[in-house]
Amino acid sequence: MNINETVTDKLVVNENWCKGCGICVKFCPKNVLKIENEKVKIVDIDKCIQCGLCELRCPDYAIYVRGK
Protein backbone atom coordinates (compact mmCIF):
# COMPACT_ATOMS: atom_id res chain seq x y z
CA MET A 1 0.00 0.00 0.00
CA ASN A 2 1.39 3.30 -1.11
CA ILE A 3 0.56 5.91 1.51
CA ASN A 4 1.88 9.40 2.07
CA GLU A 5 -0.31 10.96 4.70
CA THR A 6 -0.93 14.27 6.38
CA VAL A 7 -2.51 13.55 9.74
CA THR A 8 -4.14 16.28 11.84
CA ASP A 9 -6.46 16.01 14.85
CA LYS A 10 -9.48 16.45 12.62
CA LEU A 11 -8.59 15.20 9.16
CA VAL A 12 -6.37 12.73 7.36
CA VAL A 13 -5.22 13.33 3.79
CA ASN A 14 -3.49 10.71 1.66
CA GLU A 15 -1.60 12.59 -1.05
CA ASN A 16 -0.81 9.42 -2.97
CA TRP A 17 -4.45 8.57 -3.57
CA CYS A 18 -5.56 12.17 -4.23
CA LYS A 19 -6.08 12.92 -7.93
CA GLY A 20 -6.58 16.64 -7.41
CA CYS A 21 -10.15 16.72 -8.73
CA GLY A 22 -11.13 19.55 -6.36
CA ILE A 23 -14.49 18.05 -5.33
CA CYS A 24 -13.70 18.19 -1.60
CA VAL A 25 -12.44 21.77 -1.95
CA LYS A 26 -15.59 22.98 -3.71
CA PHE A 27 -18.14 21.37 -1.40
CA CYS A 28 -16.39 21.98 1.94
CA PRO A 29 -18.73 24.44 3.69
CA LYS A 30 -15.86 26.06 5.62
CA ASN A 31 -13.16 26.56 2.96
CA VAL A 32 -10.69 24.39 4.82
CA LEU A 33 -9.03 22.98 1.71
CA LYS A 34 -7.32 24.00 -1.50
CA ILE A 35 -5.53 22.38 -4.43
CA GLU A 36 -1.80 22.90 -4.73
CA ASN A 37 0.36 21.14 -7.31
CA GLU A 38 -2.60 18.95 -8.25
CA LYS A 39 -3.08 17.65 -4.72
CA VAL A 40 -5.41 18.60 -1.91
CA LYS A 41 -3.94 20.70 0.86
CA ILE A 42 -5.30 21.74 4.24
CA VAL A 43 -5.17 25.52 4.52
CA ASP A 44 -7.14 26.22 7.70
CA ILE A 45 -7.72 23.20 9.92
CA ASP A 46 -9.15 25.39 12.72
CA LYS A 47 -12.22 26.07 10.60
CA CYS A 48 -12.95 22.38 9.99
CA ILE A 49 -16.21 21.28 11.64
CA GLN A 50 -15.67 17.60 10.79
CA CYS A 51 -18.93 17.50 8.84
CA GLY A 52 -17.51 14.72 6.68
CA LEU A 53 -18.72 16.12 3.35
CA CYS A 54 -15.22 15.90 1.89
CA GLU A 55 -15.02 12.22 2.85
CA LEU A 56 -18.54 11.55 1.53
CA ARG A 57 -17.74 12.82 -1.96
CA CYS A 58 -14.04 12.13 -2.43
CA PRO A 59 -14.02 9.62 -5.33
CA ASP A 60 -10.59 8.36 -4.28
CA TYR A 61 -10.98 7.99 -0.49
CA ALA A 62 -7.99 10.29 -0.07
CA ILE A 63 -9.47 12.46 2.68
CA TYR A 64 -11.39 11.55 5.80
CA VAL A 65 -12.50 12.80 9.17
CA ARG A 66 -10.54 11.48 12.10
CA GLY A 67 -11.87 10.09 15.36
CA LYS A 68 -15.54 10.24 14.44
Binding site: W17, K19, K26, R57, P59, Y61
Partner: protein
Amino acid sequence: MPSEIVNKYFRTNKLPQIWCPGCGHGIITRAITVAIDKLGLDRDKICIVSGIGCSSRAPGYMDFDTLHTTHGRALAFATGIKMANPELKVIVITGDGDATAIGGNHLIHACRRNIDITTIIYNNNIYGMTGGQYSPTTPKFDKGTTVPYGNVDKAFDIPALAIAAGATYVGRSTAYHTQLLISLIENGIKNEGFSLIEAISVCPTYYGRKNKKGSAVEMLEWQKEHAVNIAAASKMTPESLDGKFLIGEFKNSPEPEYTREYQKIIDRLKKE
Protein backbone atom coordinates in the same frame (compact mmCIF):
# COMPACT_ATOMS: atom_id res chain seq x y z
CA MET B 1 -4.16 4.12 7.21
CA PRO B 2 -7.25 4.59 5.07
CA SER B 3 -10.54 5.45 6.78
CA GLU B 4 -12.31 2.77 8.79
CA ILE B 5 -14.96 2.17 6.13
CA VAL B 6 -12.40 1.93 3.32
CA ASN B 7 -10.15 -0.32 5.36
CA LYS B 8 -13.06 -2.59 6.18
CA TYR B 9 -14.71 -2.93 2.77
CA PHE B 10 -12.09 -2.23 0.10
CA ARG B 11 -9.15 -4.17 -1.32
CA THR B 12 -6.88 -1.33 -0.30
CA ASN B 13 -3.87 -2.82 -2.08
CA LYS B 14 -5.75 -2.18 -5.35
CA LEU B 15 -6.36 1.53 -4.59
CA PRO B 16 -6.39 4.17 -5.95
CA GLN B 17 -8.79 3.01 -8.62
CA ILE B 18 -7.98 3.25 -12.31
CA TRP B 19 -10.82 5.80 -12.78
CA CYS B 20 -10.09 9.33 -14.03
CA PRO B 21 -9.76 12.25 -11.58
CA GLY B 22 -13.25 13.30 -10.43
CA CYS B 23 -15.02 10.24 -11.86
CA GLY B 24 -18.32 9.90 -9.99
CA HIS B 25 -18.03 6.11 -9.89
CA GLY B 26 -15.76 6.27 -6.81
CA ILE B 27 -18.33 8.28 -4.86
CA ILE B 28 -21.09 5.78 -5.65
CA THR B 29 -18.91 2.77 -4.80
CA ARG B 30 -18.14 4.12 -1.34
CA ALA B 31 -21.84 4.90 -0.84
CA ILE B 32 -22.67 1.23 -1.44
CA THR B 33 -20.23 0.12 1.27
CA VAL B 34 -21.67 2.67 3.71
CA ALA B 35 -25.18 1.32 3.05
CA ILE B 36 -23.97 -2.25 3.63
CA ASP B 37 -22.25 -1.16 6.83
CA LYS B 38 -25.36 0.61 8.12
CA LEU B 39 -27.42 -2.51 7.53
CA GLY B 40 -24.90 -4.57 9.51
CA LEU B 41 -25.01 -7.36 6.94
CA ASP B 42 -22.80 -10.44 7.19
CA ARG B 43 -20.29 -9.82 4.41
CA ASP B 44 -19.92 -13.55 3.77
CA LYS B 45 -23.56 -13.59 2.74
CA ILE B 46 -23.11 -10.87 0.13
CA CYS B 47 -22.15 -11.38 -3.48
CA ILE B 48 -21.45 -8.41 -5.74
CA VAL B 49 -21.71 -8.97 -9.48
CA SER B 50 -20.87 -6.67 -12.39
CA GLY B 51 -20.72 -6.66 -16.19
CA ILE B 52 -18.23 -4.68 -18.26
CA GLY B 53 -17.48 -0.95 -18.24
CA CYS B 54 -15.72 1.59 -16.04
CA SER B 55 -18.62 1.17 -13.60
CA SER B 56 -18.40 -2.59 -13.70
CA ARG B 57 -14.81 -2.40 -12.47
CA ALA B 58 -16.06 -1.31 -9.05
CA PRO B 59 -16.42 -4.78 -7.48
CA GLY B 60 -12.74 -5.40 -8.21
CA TYR B 61 -11.96 -2.86 -5.52
CA MET B 62 -14.51 -4.18 -3.04
CA ASP B 63 -13.55 -6.79 -0.45
CA PHE B 64 -16.52 -9.15 -0.78
CA ASP B 65 -17.21 -12.24 -2.84
CA THR B 66 -17.33 -10.54 -6.22
CA LEU B 67 -17.84 -11.62 -9.80
CA HIS B 68 -16.84 -9.58 -12.85
CA THR B 69 -18.78 -11.10 -15.74
CA THR B 70 -19.37 -10.31 -19.43
CA HIS B 71 -20.87 -7.20 -21.00
CA GLY B 72 -24.57 -6.86 -20.27
CA ARG B 73 -24.83 -10.20 -18.47
CA ALA B 74 -24.37 -9.26 -14.82
CA LEU B 75 -28.05 -9.87 -14.09
CA ALA B 76 -28.00 -13.25 -15.80
CA PHE B 77 -25.06 -14.38 -13.63
CA ALA B 78 -26.64 -12.78 -10.56
CA THR B 79 -29.88 -14.66 -11.21
CA GLY B 80 -27.96 -17.92 -11.30
CA ILE B 81 -26.19 -17.11 -8.04
CA LYS B 82 -29.42 -16.18 -6.29
CA MET B 83 -31.22 -19.31 -7.56
CA ALA B 84 -28.35 -21.55 -6.44
CA ASN B 85 -28.09 -19.90 -3.05
CA PRO B 86 -31.17 -17.85 -2.11
CA GLU B 87 -29.57 -17.06 1.28
CA LEU B 88 -27.20 -14.60 -0.37
CA LYS B 89 -27.77 -10.88 -0.69
CA VAL B 90 -26.91 -10.32 -4.32
CA ILE B 91 -25.92 -6.84 -5.45
CA VAL B 92 -25.35 -5.94 -9.10
CA ILE B 93 -23.17 -3.01 -10.13
CA THR B 94 -23.62 -2.01 -13.75
CA GLY B 95 -23.46 0.94 -16.14
CA ASP B 96 -26.05 2.63 -18.33
CA GLY B 97 -24.61 0.84 -21.36
CA ASP B 98 -24.17 -2.49 -19.60
CA ALA B 99 -27.67 -2.48 -18.09
CA THR B 100 -29.86 -0.70 -20.63
CA ALA B 101 -28.19 -1.33 -24.01
CA ILE B 102 -26.61 -4.79 -24.39
CA GLY B 103 -28.17 -5.96 -21.10
CA GLY B 104 -31.56 -4.32 -21.52
CA ASN B 105 -33.48 -7.54 -21.96
CA HIS B 106 -31.96 -9.10 -18.84
CA LEU B 107 -32.90 -5.95 -16.96
CA ILE B 108 -36.60 -5.94 -17.82
CA HIS B 109 -36.97 -9.65 -17.11
CA ALA B 110 -35.20 -9.42 -13.75
CA CYS B 111 -37.63 -6.60 -12.88
CA ARG B 112 -40.58 -8.70 -14.02
CA ARG B 113 -39.53 -11.70 -11.95
CA ASN B 114 -39.04 -9.69 -8.80
CA ILE B 115 -35.96 -11.75 -7.93
CA ASP B 116 -34.21 -10.51 -4.77
CA ILE B 117 -31.31 -8.64 -6.38
CA THR B 118 -30.37 -5.02 -5.72
CA THR B 119 -29.10 -3.39 -8.88
CA ILE B 120 -27.24 -0.10 -8.85
CA ILE B 121 -26.86 1.48 -12.28
CA TYR B 122 -23.99 3.97 -12.47
CA ASN B 123 -25.46 6.23 -15.13
CA ASN B 124 -22.93 8.58 -16.69
CA ASN B 125 -24.98 8.95 -19.92
CA ILE B 126 -22.20 7.44 -22.06
CA TYR B 127 -19.98 4.42 -22.70
CA GLY B 128 -17.03 5.63 -20.67
CA MET B 129 -14.72 2.66 -20.99
CA THR B 130 -14.70 2.43 -24.77
CA GLY B 131 -14.23 6.12 -25.47
CA GLY B 132 -17.50 8.02 -25.26
CA GLN B 133 -20.00 6.31 -27.56
CA TYR B 134 -23.59 7.38 -26.90
CA SER B 135 -25.76 5.13 -24.76
CA PRO B 136 -29.51 4.67 -24.30
CA THR B 137 -29.38 7.36 -21.59
CA THR B 138 -27.50 10.01 -23.58
CA PRO B 139 -29.89 12.98 -23.62
CA LYS B 140 -31.41 13.96 -26.95
CA PHE B 141 -29.12 16.26 -29.00
CA ASP B 142 -26.10 15.59 -26.77
CA LYS B 143 -22.86 14.43 -28.36
CA GLY B 144 -20.75 11.30 -28.22
CA THR B 145 -18.07 9.76 -30.45
CA THR B 146 -20.76 7.90 -32.40
CA VAL B 147 -23.09 10.94 -32.52
CA PRO B 148 -20.66 13.76 -33.36
CA TYR B 149 -23.48 16.04 -34.57
CA GLY B 150 -25.91 15.25 -31.76
CA ASN B 151 -28.01 12.27 -30.75
CA VAL B 152 -31.53 12.04 -32.14
CA ASP B 153 -32.62 9.06 -30.02
CA LYS B 154 -34.89 9.63 -27.04
CA ALA B 155 -33.20 8.66 -23.77
CA PHE B 156 -34.51 5.96 -21.45
CA ASP B 157 -35.89 7.08 -18.12
CA ILE B 158 -34.41 4.17 -16.14
CA PRO B 159 -36.73 4.31 -13.08
CA ALA B 160 -39.82 4.55 -15.32
CA LEU B 161 -38.57 1.56 -17.31
CA ALA B 162 -37.99 -0.48 -14.13
CA ILE B 163 -41.38 0.41 -12.68
CA ALA B 164 -43.16 -0.51 -15.92
CA ALA B 165 -41.27 -3.81 -16.02
CA GLY B 166 -42.30 -4.71 -12.45
CA ALA B 167 -39.41 -3.88 -10.10
CA THR B 168 -40.75 -3.53 -6.56
CA TYR B 169 -38.26 -0.94 -5.25
CA VAL B 170 -37.10 1.91 -7.47
CA GLY B 171 -35.19 5.09 -6.73
CA ARG B 172 -32.79 7.60 -8.20
CA SER B 173 -30.09 9.76 -6.74
CA THR B 174 -26.86 11.36 -7.89
CA ALA B 175 -23.20 11.27 -6.94
CA TYR B 176 -23.70 14.75 -5.46
CA HIS B 177 -26.73 13.66 -3.36
CA THR B 178 -24.68 10.99 -1.66
CA GLN B 179 -26.64 10.72 1.61
CA LEU B 180 -29.88 10.15 -0.28
CA LEU B 181 -28.08 7.59 -2.44
CA ILE B 182 -26.92 5.69 0.65
CA SER B 183 -30.44 5.55 2.08
CA LEU B 184 -31.95 4.38 -1.24
CA ILE B 185 -29.36 1.59 -1.46
CA GLU B 186 -30.11 0.59 2.14
CA ASN B 187 -33.84 0.43 1.46
CA GLY B 188 -33.27 -1.33 -1.84
CA ILE B 189 -31.22 -4.05 -0.14
CA LYS B 190 -33.90 -4.37 2.55
CA ASN B 191 -36.60 -4.94 -0.06
CA GLU B 192 -36.94 -8.68 -0.65
CA GLY B 193 -37.45 -8.48 -4.38
CA PHE B 194 -35.94 -6.69 -7.34
CA SER B 195 -34.64 -3.25 -6.41
CA LEU B 196 -33.24 -0.80 -8.86
CA ILE B 197 -31.35 2.33 -7.90
CA GLU B 198 -30.20 4.68 -10.61
CA ALA B 199 -27.10 6.50 -9.38
CA ILE B 200 -26.38 9.40 -11.71
CA SER B 201 -22.61 9.58 -12.01
CA VAL B 202 -20.29 11.99 -13.77
CA CYS B 203 -17.83 11.16 -16.55
CA PRO B 204 -15.82 14.35 -16.97
CA THR B 205 -13.47 12.67 -19.46
CA TYR B 206 -15.99 11.72 -22.16
CA TYR B 207 -19.55 12.86 -21.52
CA GLY B 208 -18.37 16.04 -19.86
CA ARG B 209 -15.76 16.96 -22.45
CA LYS B 210 -17.87 16.10 -25.49
CA ASN B 211 -20.76 18.17 -24.19
CA LYS B 212 -18.80 21.08 -22.69
CA LYS B 213 -20.11 20.34 -19.21
CA GLY B 214 -16.91 21.45 -17.54
CA SER B 215 -14.95 19.76 -14.78
CA ALA B 216 -16.17 17.06 -12.40
CA VAL B 217 -16.85 19.82 -9.87
CA GLU B 218 -19.05 21.71 -12.35
CA MET B 219 -20.88 18.53 -13.30
CA LEU B 220 -21.66 17.83 -9.61
CA GLU B 221 -22.82 21.42 -9.18
CA TRP B 222 -25.17 20.87 -12.10
CA GLN B 223 -26.62 17.84 -10.29
CA LYS B 224 -27.06 19.90 -7.15
CA GLU B 225 -28.91 22.64 -9.03
CA HIS B 226 -31.12 20.51 -11.27
CA ALA B 227 -32.27 17.62 -9.07
CA VAL B 228 -35.56 17.94 -7.20
CA ASN B 229 -36.71 15.42 -4.64
CA ILE B 230 -39.99 13.80 -5.61
CA ALA B 231 -41.38 14.68 -2.18
CA ALA B 232 -40.82 18.39 -2.84
CA ALA B 233 -41.83 18.23 -6.51
CA SER B 234 -45.48 17.55 -5.72
CA LYS B 235 -45.72 21.00 -4.15
CA MET B 236 -44.00 22.79 -7.02
CA THR B 237 -45.47 24.42 -10.13
CA PRO B 238 -44.79 22.84 -13.54
CA GLU B 239 -42.86 25.98 -14.54
CA SER B 240 -40.48 25.72 -11.60
CA LEU B 241 -39.83 22.07 -12.52
CA ASP B 242 -38.90 22.97 -16.07
CA GLY B 243 -35.44 21.61 -16.93
CA LYS B 244 -35.22 19.77 -13.61
CA PHE B 245 -35.10 16.02 -12.95
CA LEU B 246 -36.50 14.00 -10.06
CA ILE B 247 -34.58 12.09 -7.42
CA GLY B 248 -35.81 10.12 -4.41
CA GLU B 249 -37.79 6.95 -3.75
CA PHE B 250 -40.15 6.36 -6.67
CA LYS B 251 -41.60 2.98 -5.74
CA ASN B 252 -41.57 0.78 -2.66
CA SER B 253 -44.25 -1.90 -2.84
CA PRO B 254 -43.12 -5.41 -1.93
CA GLU B 255 -44.54 -8.41 -3.79
CA PRO B 256 -43.81 -12.18 -3.54
CA GLU B 257 -40.16 -12.86 -4.32
CA TYR B 258 -39.07 -15.16 -7.15
CA THR B 259 -36.81 -17.69 -5.37
CA ARG B 260 -39.38 -18.11 -2.59
CA GLU B 261 -42.17 -18.70 -5.08
CA TYR B 262 -39.94 -21.19 -6.88
CA GLN B 263 -39.20 -23.00 -3.62
CA LYS B 264 -42.92 -23.25 -2.89
CA ILE B 265 -43.41 -25.21 -6.10
CA ILE B 266 -40.52 -27.53 -5.22
CA ASP B 267 -42.01 -28.09 -1.75
CA ARG B 268 -45.46 -28.73 -3.17
CA LEU B 269 -44.21 -31.25 -5.72
CA LYS B 270 -42.19 -33.08 -3.05
CA LYS B 271 -45.38 -33.62 -1.06
CA GLU B 272 -47.43 -34.86 -4.01
